[in-house]
Amino acid sequence: MPRPPELRVLIADDEAPARELLKEFCQHHPDLIVVGEASHGLMTVKLAQELQPQLLLLDVQMPKLNGFEVLELLDQQQGVIFTTAHDQYAVRAFEVNAVDYLLKPITQGRFDAALAKVRSHTGVPRGFDFRALVAASRPVGVYAERLVIKDGARIELLSVQELDYARAQGDYVELVSGKKSWLKEQTLQDLETSLDPARFVRVHRSFILNGERLARLEPMSKDSKVAILKTGAQVPVSQTGMQKLAHWLTQLGP
């Protein structure tokens, strides 16, 4: 009988006993090789890139980066099983997105069942959209306070207050803050839903503007205008973008 191929596992949890427990569960499966343990989010991303695990056992609440932020920064090649103690939004997000998750306290039986599910599909589950998962994990009316960006080997945390504008660039968005800019693998639509509409306005099919950066508007052509930012940067504003911007400006008033 052929043995199942080896599965390289990375365990991420900030509590040592919780990691030990998962290691113990893994020992019951000879084909599982625990290649690393991470005690916080940044370490998880770093180890995942170095060790290329095929399965990630990922805690939601961790220092530095939470489980969702970690997932945003990875290439989505590995299977993921989330572990969480009690987080109604996370659990709802998992259920909606059919991602495997384990509720603490975790038992061997439940661990085995989740593992079997991961084995049945290679890598990421079919149709699994991690961005939808991240969006669903956010309570209604709560918006992103920061954006996580992978800049080569570095990980940048950009506070949304520092974001001047975002621009669609194919499969990426370009995030601009002052003289700096980053590319992030995300659609402008996804970014827009994560940002607070009280601060950010989709002024163009390809642009989201931080309204607080707006200095003035100048006409560009018959149908469109250009927004001049306090930094001097220019952002095109379409006709519908102009309506949204006008609406936003009146909402901001008393």
Binding site: D14, E15, A18, Q61, P63, A85, H86, P105, I106, P139
Partner: protein, 359 residues
């Protein structure tokens, strides 16, 4: 209308009473010859009714001159003086009306009667004044008693609400599930420790439930619960958590509202030490300063920690609870530094705190 007579019905009753009162001077005048009653009534109705209308202004005098012990001599002196003045004015008004009545109707002769009866009418005017004053003082006292009752009720409601919020927030399910997971993890490698943690968790739950039933508890009990909680967190966080306590022995017996510190300790862990990769030290100092108990809790935190939900709810609850209980006599301050957070509580030890809610 009038502050004491909010409804039209009350106002009409008030005027009706004065119309009835006008029969008193009429009675004095006509005794013993009751044939004079109608003419006497004609002379007394208008001045008495007018007195009643003007008496409405006495309310404001009563308002500005409350019958407090400090002002009693002054207030009674003034009112006696005013009673004499108003009695003279009233008598003059009766004279004038009687003269008018006599002038209009030649059949009557009321004026001499009034002149004859002034020894009775003058005290009656004074009595009207004092009666009206007494009425307004009574109304003012009833009104302020009502307001005080309503305020006390709102205050009690607020205190109750804070208590309820506290109970709800007392044992976080997150903490419970994580602890159970830790127990589960320890069972194989360290069964003794697993058993220990079971007992710690049971003690913590038991204490939270029983302490929550009390209004105030000795600080020692509150700190024992915190110690119990931190022992559990220590098993989960290991080396990352260190604790530095500086508890003045003479503070241990001082009364504190039950479970006031617990949410602050939990905040210091979940939003503080647990967010730091290297962990850190939770500091707690208690000291008695005169008639106040000072408690300080400090913790490091990672400014770049992932945003967490429910942040600040615990702090707001503590603040609301203190306000409901002590009013302005207690102080709750928070200080946020680059990588550290500190809360400070100043609790009055005087149980007769001005705004203390009944237990």
């Amino acid at each position: 209308m009038h502050p004491t007579l909010p409804k039209l019905r009350h106002f009409l009753v008030y005027l009706g009473v004065w119309l009835l009162l006008s029969q008193l001077p009429a009675l004095f005048i006509s005794v013993p010859n009751f044939d004079l009653w109608p003419a006497a009534t004609l002379a007394t109705v208008m001045p008495t009714f007018l007195f009643g209308l003007l008496a409405l202004s006495f309310y404001y005098v009563c308002r500005t001159l409350p019958l407090s012990p400090a002002l009693f001599t002054r207030a009674s002196g003034l009112h006696l003086l005013m009673a004499v003045v108003w009695a003279v004015v009233y008598l003059a008004a009766l004279h004038a009306t009687a003269w008018l009545v006599d002038w209009v109707s030649t059949a009557t002769d009321v004026l001499p009667l009034i002149e004859a009866r002034w020894p009775q009418l003058l005290p009656l005017g004074a009595a009207f004044y004092l009666g009206a004053i007494a009425f307004f003082y009574l109304v003012i006292n009833i009104q302020s008693a009502h307001t005080a009752l309503a305020e006390a009720a709102t205050e009690r409601l607020r205190a109750r609400e804070a208590q309820l919020n506290l109970l709800k927030a007392q044992v976080h399910p997150h903490f419970l599930f994580n602890s159970l997971n830790t127990i589960s993890a320890l069972v194989t490698p360290e069964p003794g420790l697993a058993r220990e943690l079971c007992a710690l968790l049971a003690d913590f739950l038991r204490k939270s439930l029983t302490l929550g039933e009390h209004d105030t508890i000795p600080l020692a009990d509150e700190l024992a619960l915190a110690k119990n909680y931190l022992d559990i967190e220590k098993l989960r966080l290991g080396e990352r958590l260190t604790i530095a306590w500086d508890v003045a022995p003479q503070t241990l017996a001082l009364p504190v509202p039950a479970l006031l510190l617990q949410p602050l300790i939990e905040n210091a862990i979940t939003h503080g030490v647990a967010t730091c990769v290297q962990g850190g030290t939770l500091t707690l100092t208690t000291v008695r300063e005169g008639a106040m108990l000072k408690v300080r809790i400090g913790n490091p935190f990672d400014p770049e920690a992932p945003p967490r939900k429910r942040g600040g709810v615990g702090l707001a609850n503590v603040s609301r609870r203190l306000h409901a209980r002590y009013g302005k006599a207690a102080a709750f301050t928070t200080a946020r530094y680059a990588e550290a957070f500190q809360v400070q509580l100043l609790l009055p030890l005087d149980e007769e705190a001005p705004d203390a809610a009944p237990p």
